[in-house]
């Protein structure tokens, strides 16, 4: 699938000069990301769009085209594919089609099914692989390919380097939401690859998973799924991949009504949800329930080392949030209370203000609201040095007298001073809202994982630990 993510020449059918149209936004995204390859808009009524020369037909493009993106209204598919056939007879160059438009077989109407059949007839004839229809297409933020028509509202320059997170979605709208929510975070998330697969007329979950399995830039795979026809094959593929890299899935259809809605949506058969759930548990897939949990968990898996075990310490600067978080940790299935050494307790006491609560109950410290930057950082370092601790949730509420930028920088320095092989995951909960965004941004830019509320931090910690335990178990079985 290299040519899908690194195409030599992209043609866009349905390109538009109207800034509200998908056929314009897709071009603008590619322009803004400075995609270095050739882009060929197709629109019979225009000569140029956004500086790209416009063509009347696919068959008229002189240069090589590896990837064709179809964003035009679905009713035009017959003419487009006739022109596509003409090109293939002459040039034989296209390898991939991304059919972004909707109104194909997912409508379960005779006309919709016929349109999809027309698309696939030419694709099969020339051995061209198809993504979609009914999707938003693909993004590769390393090669700067972006066929989507999603406007995140965040300038591309504000994102950092691409993460190791690759996301596959059966729903285009949900894919957009994951893109947009990621972009809207304090430090915008730039996904590695992003694929919306829609109706899966050709390329499906398993095809992509098999590719991503050996894709070195993909460290974490995220998925939104409604259903897949070959459960056994999906299960076998997932089992193989989770032994190497984590897979996080937001699968819908838990309720009977939801399951019915899924069936009529992408037109896929959703199997019994409780069997999917069992399979996910069995094969080390992390199933999440919300979009927030999905992004939080993918980010944590991408940024942090896996914990060695279940022992999770709660290090809080505030009583109420600390207790709130204690309940969340107690409810988490994969987290347990560490018993740190007497020496650690002594060192902790010595590093904190006299009123600090050290390990009462065990596995918990409340360093109190008067804690200085040094109190925050020194105590956390001591906790991380104890062998009984596998991971930590850190909570601070940042009163006005606590310099947040200084705190953020000190935490980053502390993390950087720990050698790679001794690093443990820390889930930094910097409460809350807009006020702490500057501190969180600095931390995130430097590879730390931050959260605005304790429950989100604990969810990510629980998911990470579950996966770590699965990997350890698998390693033991081999």
């Amino acid at each position: 699938m290299k040519k899908l993510f690194e195409p030599d020449g992209i043609a866009i059918a349905g390109a538009s000069t109207n800034p509200t149209k998908a056929g314009y936004v897709a071009l603008r995204n590619m322009k803004e990301k400075e995609y270095p390859g050739k882009v060929y808009p197709i629109n019979p009524n225009e000569t140029e769009i956004l500086g790209y020369k416009c063509y009347k037909a696919l068959s008229e493009i002189e240069g090589n085209v590896d990837l064709v993106v179809l964003i035009m209204p679905a009713r035009l598919i017959y003419d487009i594919m006739d022109d596509f056939d003409k090109r293939m007879e002459e040039k034989h160059d296209v390898k991939y089609i991304v059919c972004a438009a909707a109104d194909y077989a997912e409508t379960q109407t005779e006309e919709g099914v016929r349109r999809q059949a027309r698309l696939m007839q030419s694709a099969e004839k020339y051995g061209v692989r198809v993504i979609g229809p009914n999707c938003i297409g693909v993004i590769d933020n390393r090669t700067k390919v972006d066929t989507t028509f999603v406007d995140t509202g965040v300038p591309f320059s504000e994102f950092g380097e691409p993460t190791g997170i690759t996301f596959i979605s059966q729903s285009g709208a949900l894919a957009s939401a994951v893109l947009m929510e990621g972009a809207g975070r304090v430090f915008p998330v730039l996904y590695n690859k992003f694929i919306s697969i829609g109706n899966m007329a050709d390329i499906d979950f398993v095809d992509l998973l098999e590719y991503l399995e050996n894709d070195d830039t993909t460290k974490v795979i995220g998925m939104y799924m409604e259903g897949y026809r070959d459960g056994r094959k999906l299960a076998e593929t997932l089992r193989r991949i989770t032994a190497k890299k984590p897979v996080v899935i937001l699968k819908v259809g838990r309720s009977e009504k939801g399951s019915k809605a899924a069936n009529s949506h992408t037109g896929s058969m959703a199997g019994a949800d409780n069997v999917y759930d069992a399979m996910f548990k069995q094969y080390g897939v992390i199933r999440v329930d919300t979009i927030d949990e999905l992004i939080d968990t993918m980010q944590a898996l991408d940024a942090l080392p896996l914990p060695k075990g279940k022992n999770h310490f709660l290090y809080s600067q505030a009583g109420g949030p600390g207790i709130y978080c204690t309940d969340a940790i107690a409810a988490a299935k994969n987290l347990e209370t560490p018993l740190v050494s007497e020496e650690t307790k002594e060192r902790l006491r010595a590093s904190q203000l006299p009123m600090a609560n050290i390990c009462s109950p065990e596995g918990y410290a409340d360093i109190t609201a008067s804690a200085s930057v040094a109190n925050h950082v020194d105590g956390l370092r001591i906790v991380l040095e104890d062998d009984a601790v596998d991971s930590v949730t850190f909570i601070t509420v940042v009163p006005t007298f606590l310099p947040q930028i200084e705190l953020a920088n000190a935490l980053v320095e502390m993390e950087k001073s720990i050698p790679e092989d001794r690093k443990k995951p820390v889930y930094y909960c910097v409460m809350a809202g807009a006020y702490t965004a500057p501190a969180r941004k600095i931390m995130e830019e430097n590879g730390l994982c931050t959260f605005n509320t304790p429950d989100k931090a604990v969810k990510a910690a629980d998911n990470m630990t579950r996966y770590a335990l699965y990997r350890a178990r698998k390693a033991g079985e081999e």
């Binding site: 019994a272 069997v275 069992a278 399979m279 069995q282 178990r473």
Partner: protein
């Protein structure tokens, strides 16, 4: 291909062959003194007797179950009563005989089963058994084959895990349940034609007596 549901005697025999402890039973077809004496000698008392007929599904409703039989005389009387009630219930019922089986003491009722999912194939299930199964939904599933670690995790997802740590003075045997789950998984791997197994109840005792499949149904896919 067609589905064949094995009757309770065949199903129990199938499970017994695969190392699962089942209730001892015999099929009586004559009701003669010799047949009764032989059954009594093998099963002991108390015993339960019920009709064996594909035409009578709800045996209790048809008056075709007798509990707590304590002597050969009671066994003979039960045989006559069950036969008479069966024919009264449905004169043309096909009757294979009367089953006599050990009446085993009550314990903690668990459930072990196999079902077939159209997408994932055979799925193993464990949980609390008895009549409240539907209500409690306290079951855990995994796709077959299951590993030992899977079986451990399954058990931990049900209230049986707590019972194995101690429940009202009884400590139920965790290893034994895991062993049965592994056996059922292996059974399906060996015989992929199995579509469904329903062991309910699997009676558990917290005192060293073996977990026993009291009632079981096996459904296999067979050649027409």
């Amino acid at each position: 291909m067609a589905l064949k549901a094995y009757n309770e005697i065949e199903s129990a025999a199938y499970l017994a062959e695969n190392g699962i402890c089942t209730v001892k039973s015999r099929i009586l077809t004559e009701g003669s003194a010799e047949e009764i004496a032989a059954a009594a000698a093998e099963l002991g008392f108390p015993a339960v007797m019920k009709i064996l007929s594909d035409d009578i599904l709800h045996k209790t409703d048809a008056g075709c179950v007798v509990l707590n039989i304590r002597s050969e005389e009671e066994m003979a009387a039960a045989y006559e009563k069950i036969m008479a009630n069966a024919l009264a219930f449905r004169a043309d019922a096909r009757i294979q005989g009367v089953v006599a089986e050990q009446m085993i003491p009550s314990g903690l009722e668990a459930l072990v089963g196999v079902s077939t999912d159209p997408q994932f194939g055979q799925v193993l299930m464990v949980g609390l058994g008895g009549v409240l199964v539907e209500l409690l939904k306290a079951v855990s599933l995994r796709v077959i084959p299951v590993s030992r670690a899977d079986a451990e995790e399954m058990l931990d997802e049900t209230p049986l895990a707590q019972a194995c740590k101690g429940l009202r003075g009884s400590v139920y045997n965790r290893e034994e349940i895991i062993d049965i789950l592994m056996k059922v998984s292996a059974m399906v791997e060996k015989d992929p034609a199995i579509r469904e197994i329903d062991i309910n109840p699997l009676m558990l005792y917290g005192d060293g007596r073996p977990a026993t499949a009291v009632d079981a149904v096996v459904i296999r896919e067979v050649e027409n």
